[in-house]
Symmetry: C2
Subunit: 141 residues, 2 copies
DNA sequence: ACAATCGTCACTATATTGGTGTCAATTCAA
DNA sequence: TTGAATTGACACCAATATAGTGACGATTGT
Protein backbone atom coordinates (compact mmCIF):
# COMPACT_ATOMS: atom_id res chain seq x y z
CA UNK A 1 0.00 0.00 0.00
CA UNK A 2 1.46 3.28 -1.01
CA UNK A 3 0.70 6.48 0.83
CA UNK A 4 2.94 9.30 1.85
CA UNK A 5 3.00 10.56 5.39
CA UNK A 6 2.15 14.09 4.24
CA UNK A 7 -1.49 13.79 5.23
CA UNK A 8 -0.56 12.68 8.73
CA UNK A 9 2.17 15.30 9.09
CA UNK A 10 -0.20 18.01 7.89
CA UNK A 11 -2.81 17.01 10.48
CA UNK A 12 -0.15 17.00 13.17
CA UNK A 13 1.07 20.46 12.22
CA UNK A 14 -2.40 21.97 11.90
CA UNK A 15 -3.30 20.58 15.32
CA UNK A 16 -0.14 22.14 16.70
CA UNK A 17 -0.92 25.51 15.11
CA UNK A 18 -4.49 25.37 16.43
CA UNK A 19 -3.11 24.70 19.90
CA UNK A 20 -1.25 28.02 19.74
CA UNK A 21 -3.91 30.38 18.40
CA UNK A 22 -2.60 33.63 16.94
CA UNK A 23 1.00 32.60 17.50
CA UNK A 24 3.30 32.21 14.49
CA UNK A 25 5.23 28.95 14.80
CA UNK A 26 8.53 28.48 12.96
CA UNK A 27 9.26 25.45 10.83
CA UNK A 28 12.12 24.76 13.20
CA UNK A 29 9.82 24.59 16.22
CA UNK A 30 7.28 22.52 14.33
CA UNK A 31 10.00 20.13 13.18
CA UNK A 32 10.85 19.58 16.86
CA UNK A 33 7.34 18.36 17.57
CA UNK A 34 7.12 16.20 14.45
CA UNK A 35 10.69 14.96 14.91
CA UNK A 36 11.94 15.73 11.46
CA UNK A 37 13.76 18.59 9.73
CA UNK A 38 12.47 22.08 8.95
CA UNK A 39 12.81 21.73 5.19
CA UNK A 40 10.43 18.79 5.12
CA UNK A 41 7.96 20.73 7.24
CA UNK A 42 8.14 23.68 4.86
CA UNK A 43 7.48 21.34 1.95
CA UNK A 44 4.32 20.00 3.56
CA UNK A 45 3.16 23.43 4.67
CA UNK A 46 3.75 24.86 1.21
CA UNK A 47 1.04 22.49 -0.05
CA UNK A 48 -1.31 23.67 2.68
CA UNK A 49 -0.58 27.26 1.75
CA UNK A 50 -1.49 26.53 -1.87
CA UNK A 51 -4.89 25.45 -0.56
CA UNK A 52 -5.10 28.58 1.58
CA UNK A 53 -5.19 26.67 4.85
CA UNK A 54 -2.15 28.47 6.31
CA UNK A 55 -0.08 31.58 5.69
CA UNK A 56 3.62 32.13 6.22
CA UNK A 57 5.67 35.14 7.16
CA UNK A 58 9.42 35.51 6.69
CA UNK A 59 11.78 37.36 8.98
CA UNK A 60 12.20 37.48 12.75
CA UNK A 61 8.98 36.65 14.56
CA UNK A 62 7.77 35.05 11.36
CA UNK A 63 6.45 31.54 10.90
CA UNK A 64 3.15 29.85 10.14
CA UNK A 65 -0.45 30.67 11.02
CA UNK A 66 -3.86 29.15 10.38
CA UNK A 67 -6.06 31.16 8.07
CA UNK A 68 -9.35 29.71 9.35
CA UNK A 69 -10.85 28.73 12.68
CA UNK A 70 -9.93 25.16 13.52
CA UNK A 71 -13.58 24.14 13.70
CA UNK A 72 -14.01 25.16 10.05
CA UNK A 73 -11.28 22.87 8.68
CA UNK A 74 -12.19 19.21 8.18
CA UNK A 75 -9.85 16.30 7.61
CA UNK A 76 -11.25 16.16 4.10
CA UNK A 77 -9.91 19.64 3.37
CA UNK A 78 -6.47 18.52 4.51
CA UNK A 79 -6.74 15.28 2.57
CA UNK A 80 -7.47 17.16 -0.62
CA UNK A 81 -4.63 19.58 0.02
CA UNK A 82 -2.01 16.91 0.62
CA UNK A 83 -2.96 13.74 -1.23
CA UNK A 84 -2.91 14.22 -4.93
CA UNK A 85 -4.29 11.66 -7.31
CA UNK A 86 -6.56 8.72 -6.67
CA UNK A 87 -6.68 6.46 -3.67
CA UNK A 88 -6.02 3.35 -5.76
CA UNK A 89 -3.65 3.13 -8.69
CA UNK A 90 -4.84 1.64 -11.96
CA UNK A 91 -2.55 -0.53 -14.11
CA UNK A 92 0.97 0.77 -14.69
CA UNK A 93 0.72 -0.24 -18.36
CA UNK A 94 -2.52 -0.14 -20.29
CA UNK A 95 -4.22 -3.56 -20.45
CA UNK A 96 -4.74 -5.34 -23.74
CA UNK A 97 -7.61 -3.58 -25.53
CA UNK A 98 -8.29 -6.67 -27.65
CA UNK A 99 -9.36 -8.60 -24.55
CA UNK A 100 -12.95 -7.89 -23.47
CA UNK A 101 -11.82 -7.68 -19.86
CA UNK A 102 -8.64 -5.73 -20.57
CA UNK A 103 -10.46 -3.27 -22.79
CA UNK A 104 -13.07 -2.33 -20.21
CA UNK A 105 -11.71 -3.04 -16.76
CA UNK A 106 -9.99 0.29 -16.20
CA UNK A 107 -13.12 2.26 -16.87
CA UNK A 108 -15.22 -0.06 -14.72
CA UNK A 109 -12.80 -0.04 -11.80
CA UNK A 110 -12.22 3.68 -12.10
CA UNK A 111 -15.90 4.30 -11.37
CA UNK A 112 -15.85 2.00 -8.35
CA UNK A 113 -12.71 3.62 -7.03
CA UNK A 114 -14.27 7.06 -7.33
CA UNK A 115 -17.22 5.85 -5.27
CA UNK A 116 -14.77 4.56 -2.66
CA UNK A 117 -12.94 7.85 -2.60
CA UNK A 118 -16.22 9.65 -2.00
CA UNK A 119 -16.88 7.31 0.93
CA UNK A 120 -13.49 8.20 2.35
CA UNK A 121 -14.16 11.89 2.03
CA UNK A 122 -17.58 11.58 3.64
CA UNK A 123 -15.90 9.91 6.59
CA UNK A 124 -13.10 12.46 6.84
CA UNK A 125 -15.63 15.29 6.72
CA UNK A 126 -16.93 14.22 10.12
CA UNK A 127 -13.84 15.44 11.97
CA UNK A 128 -12.33 18.93 12.25
CA UNK A 129 -8.95 20.15 13.43
CA UNK A 130 -10.75 21.53 16.49
CA UNK A 131 -11.85 17.97 17.33
CA UNK A 132 -8.23 16.84 17.23
CA UNK A 133 -7.17 19.70 19.50
CA UNK A 134 -9.89 18.74 21.97
CA UNK A 135 -8.72 15.16 22.02
CA UNK A 136 -5.13 16.16 22.60
CA UNK A 137 -6.17 18.41 25.47
CA UNK A 138 -8.31 15.68 27.02
CA UNK A 139 -5.36 13.32 27.00
CA UNK A 140 -2.66 15.69 28.23
CA UNK A 141 -4.63 17.28 31.07
CA UNK B 1 -0.51 9.09 -2.81
CA UNK B 2 1.16 5.74 -2.71
CA UNK B 3 -0.62 2.55 -3.63
CA UNK B 4 0.52 -0.44 -5.56
CA UNK B 5 -1.36 -1.66 -8.56
CA UNK B 6 -1.75 -5.14 -7.05
CA UNK B 7 -5.36 -4.54 -6.01
CA UNK B 8 -6.29 -3.44 -9.51
CA UNK B 9 -4.35 -6.26 -11.16
CA UNK B 10 -5.97 -8.79 -8.84
CA UNK B 11 -9.45 -7.55 -9.72
CA UNK B 12 -8.60 -7.69 -13.40
CA UNK B 13 -7.32 -11.26 -13.13
CA UNK B 14 -10.23 -12.49 -11.03
CA UNK B 15 -12.66 -10.97 -13.50
CA UNK B 16 -10.81 -12.74 -16.28
CA UNK B 17 -10.92 -16.07 -14.43
CA UNK B 18 -14.61 -15.62 -13.69
CA UNK B 19 -15.20 -14.99 -17.40
CA UNK B 20 -13.79 -18.45 -18.15
CA UNK B 21 -15.52 -20.61 -15.55
CA UNK B 22 -13.92 -23.98 -14.90
CA UNK B 23 -11.07 -23.24 -17.28
CA UNK B 24 -7.52 -23.08 -15.92
CA UNK B 25 -5.79 -19.99 -17.30
CA UNK B 26 -2.01 -19.82 -17.48
CA UNK B 27 -0.02 -16.91 -16.12
CA UNK B 28 1.22 -16.38 -19.65
CA UNK B 29 -2.30 -15.98 -21.02
CA UNK B 30 -3.30 -13.75 -18.14
CA UNK B 31 -0.22 -11.61 -18.64
CA UNK B 32 -1.36 -11.05 -22.22
CA UNK B 33 -4.64 -9.54 -21.02
CA UNK B 34 -3.03 -7.43 -18.31
CA UNK B 35 -0.16 -6.46 -20.60
CA UNK B 36 2.67 -7.40 -18.29
CA UNK B 37 4.89 -10.43 -17.67
CA UNK B 38 3.92 -13.84 -16.26
CA UNK B 39 6.20 -13.58 -13.23
CA UNK B 40 4.46 -10.46 -12.01
CA UNK B 41 1.09 -12.18 -12.49
CA UNK B 42 2.27 -15.18 -10.51
CA UNK B 43 3.41 -12.89 -7.71
CA UNK B 44 0.01 -11.23 -7.44
CA UNK B 45 -1.84 -14.52 -7.71
CA UNK B 46 0.35 -16.07 -5.03
CA UNK B 47 -1.10 -13.51 -2.60
CA UNK B 48 -4.62 -14.45 -3.66
CA UNK B 49 -3.81 -18.11 -3.19
CA UNK B 50 -2.64 -17.39 0.39
CA UNK B 51 -6.13 -16.00 1.01
CA UNK B 52 -7.66 -19.07 -0.65
CA UNK B 53 -9.29 -17.09 -3.44
CA UNK B 54 -7.60 -19.09 -6.21
CA UNK B 55 -5.76 -22.35 -6.69
CA UNK B 56 -2.95 -23.19 -9.06
CA UNK B 57 -1.94 -26.33 -10.84
CA UNK B 58 1.45 -27.03 -12.40
CA UNK B 59 2.11 -29.03 -15.51
CA UNK B 60 0.47 -29.11 -18.91
CA UNK B 61 -3.13 -27.98 -18.81
CA UNK B 62 -2.32 -26.33 -15.51
CA UNK B 63 -2.95 -22.74 -14.54
CA UNK B 64 -5.20 -20.80 -12.20
CA UNK B 65 -8.78 -21.33 -11.06
CA UNK B 66 -11.22 -19.55 -8.78
CA UNK B 67 -12.05 -21.44 -5.59
CA UNK B 68 -15.40 -19.72 -5.02
CA UNK B 69 -18.34 -18.59 -7.12
CA UNK B 70 -17.70 -15.07 -8.41
CA UNK B 71 -20.83 -13.76 -6.69
CA UNK B 72 -19.36 -14.81 -3.32
CA UNK B 73 -16.17 -12.78 -3.64
CA UNK B 74 -16.41 -9.08 -2.83
CA UNK B 75 -13.90 -6.36 -3.61
CA UNK B 76 -13.26 -6.19 0.11
CA UNK B 77 -11.99 -9.76 0.12
CA UNK B 78 -9.58 -8.90 -2.67
CA UNK B 79 -8.56 -5.68 -0.97
CA UNK B 80 -7.65 -7.56 2.19
CA UNK B 81 -5.76 -10.18 0.23
CA UNK B 82 -3.63 -7.71 -1.70
CA UNK B 83 -3.25 -4.51 0.27
CA UNK B 84 -1.31 -5.08 3.39
CA UNK B 85 -1.04 -2.46 6.08
CA UNK B 86 -3.11 0.61 6.67
CA UNK B 87 -4.63 2.95 4.11
CA UNK B 88 -2.79 5.97 5.51
CA UNK B 89 0.77 5.95 6.79
CA UNK B 90 1.57 7.44 10.16
CA UNK B 91 4.80 9.37 10.76
CA UNK B 92 7.98 7.81 9.43
CA UNK B 93 9.77 8.74 12.67
CA UNK B 94 8.03 8.84 16.02
CA UNK B 95 6.92 12.37 16.99
CA UNK B 96 8.33 14.12 20.04
CA UNK B 97 6.69 12.54 23.11
CA UNK B 98 7.47 15.62 25.21
CA UNK B 99 5.10 17.68 23.08
CA UNK B 100 1.42 17.29 24.03
CA UNK B 101 0.48 17.08 20.37
CA UNK B 102 3.41 14.88 19.37
CA UNK B 103 2.82 12.51 22.26
CA UNK B 104 -0.81 11.84 21.43
CA UNK B 105 -1.41 12.51 17.77
CA UNK B 106 -0.50 9.08 16.46
CA UNK B 107 -2.97 7.33 18.69
CA UNK B 108 -5.69 9.85 17.92
CA UNK B 109 -5.14 9.72 14.16
CA UNK B 110 -4.78 5.95 14.21
CA UNK B 111 -8.35 5.64 15.48
CA UNK B 112 -9.68 8.00 12.84
CA UNK B 113 -7.80 6.17 10.11
CA UNK B 114 -9.24 2.85 11.26
CA UNK B 115 -12.72 4.32 10.98
CA UNK B 116 -11.89 5.49 7.47
CA UNK B 117 -10.61 2.08 6.51
CA UNK B 118 -13.85 0.54 7.77
CA UNK B 119 -15.75 2.98 5.55
CA UNK B 120 -13.66 1.88 2.58
CA UNK B 121 -14.33 -1.77 3.29
CA UNK B 122 -18.07 -1.17 3.69
CA UNK B 123 -18.04 0.44 0.27
CA UNK B 124 -15.98 -2.32 -1.35
CA UNK B 125 -18.28 -4.95 0.14
CA UNK B 126 -21.08 -3.71 -2.12
CA UNK B 127 -19.49 -5.11 -5.27
CA UNK B 128 -18.62 -8.69 -6.23
CA UNK B 129 -16.46 -10.14 -8.95
CA UNK B 130 -19.69 -11.32 -10.58
CA UNK B 131 -20.79 -7.68 -10.82
CA UNK B 132 -17.57 -6.84 -12.65
CA UNK B 133 -18.07 -9.73 -15.07
CA UNK B 134 -21.60 -8.52 -15.79
CA UNK B 135 -20.36 -5.02 -16.51
CA UNK B 136 -17.69 -6.30 -18.86
CA UNK B 137 -20.25 -8.41 -20.72
CA UNK B 138 -22.65 -5.49 -20.98
CA UNK B 139 -19.94 -3.35 -22.56
CA UNK B 140 -18.48 -5.89 -24.97
CA UNK B 141 -21.75 -7.23 -26.36
C1' DA C 1 10.70 -39.13 -21.76
C1' DC C 2 9.09 -34.75 -23.04
C1' DA C 3 7.00 -30.55 -22.74
C1' DA C 4 4.16 -27.23 -20.23
C1' DT C 5 3.54 -24.80 -16.26
C1' DC C 6 4.14 -23.05 -11.70
C1' DG C 7 7.42 -21.49 -7.67
C1' DT C 8 10.90 -18.82 -6.56
C1' DC C 9 15.00 -16.39 -6.69
C1' DA C 10 18.26 -12.86 -8.38
C1' DC C 11 19.13 -8.81 -10.79
C1' DT C 12 17.96 -4.43 -12.85
C1' DA C 13 15.88 0.21 -13.79
C1' DT C 14 12.93 3.63 -12.26
C1' DA C 15 10.26 6.37 -9.12
C1' DT C 16 9.13 7.87 -4.56
C1' DT C 17 10.17 9.29 -0.07
C1' DG C 18 12.37 11.67 3.36
C1' DG C 19 16.87 13.79 5.12
C1' DT C 20 20.34 17.35 4.58
C1' DG C 21 22.87 21.40 3.07
C1' DT C 22 22.88 25.73 0.85
C1' DC C 23 21.82 30.33 -0.25
C1' DA C 24 19.01 34.18 -1.82
C1' DA C 25 15.01 37.01 -0.36
C1' DT C 26 12.34 39.03 3.17
C1' DT C 27 11.59 41.37 7.39
C1' DC C 28 12.01 42.90 12.11
C1' DA C 29 14.64 45.46 15.38
C1' DA C 30 18.64 47.50 17.43
C1' DT D 1 21.97 50.78 8.16
C1' DT D 2 23.34 46.69 9.83
C1' DG D 3 22.50 42.18 11.42
C1' DA D 4 19.92 38.29 12.62
C1' DA D 5 15.88 35.30 11.95
C1' DT D 6 13.07 33.09 8.91
C1' DT D 7 10.94 31.37 4.72
C1' DG D 8 11.48 29.79 -0.37
C1' DA D 9 13.53 27.06 -3.34
C1' DC D 10 16.97 24.45 -5.03
C1' DA D 11 20.17 20.34 -5.50
C1' DC D 12 21.77 16.12 -3.88
C1' DC D 13 21.74 11.72 -1.36
C1' DA D 14 20.20 7.24 0.76
C1' DA D 15 16.71 4.05 1.42
C1' DT D 16 12.77 1.81 -0.16
C1' DA D 17 9.14 0.25 -3.32
C1' DT D 18 7.71 -1.10 -7.77
C1' DA D 19 7.65 -3.53 -11.82
C1' DG D 20 10.28 -5.89 -15.68
C1' DT D 21 13.21 -9.76 -16.97
C1' DG D 22 15.83 -14.01 -17.02
C1' DA D 23 16.74 -18.26 -15.10
C1' DC D 24 16.03 -22.81 -13.36
C1' DG D 25 14.21 -26.48 -10.45
C1' DA D 26 9.82 -28.98 -9.32
C1' DT D 27 5.55 -30.79 -10.76
C1' DT D 28 2.55 -33.11 -13.85
C1' DG D 29 -0.17 -34.54 -18.01
C1' DT D 30 0.46 -36.96 -22.40
Amino acid sequence: MRSSTHFTIALHVLTLLASHPGEALTSDFIAGSVNTNPVFIRRVLAALRRSRLVTSQTGPGGGWLLTHAARDVTLRDVFRATEEGALFALHSSTPNPKCPVGGNIQDILGRRFEATQRAVERELEQTTIADLVKEVQARSS
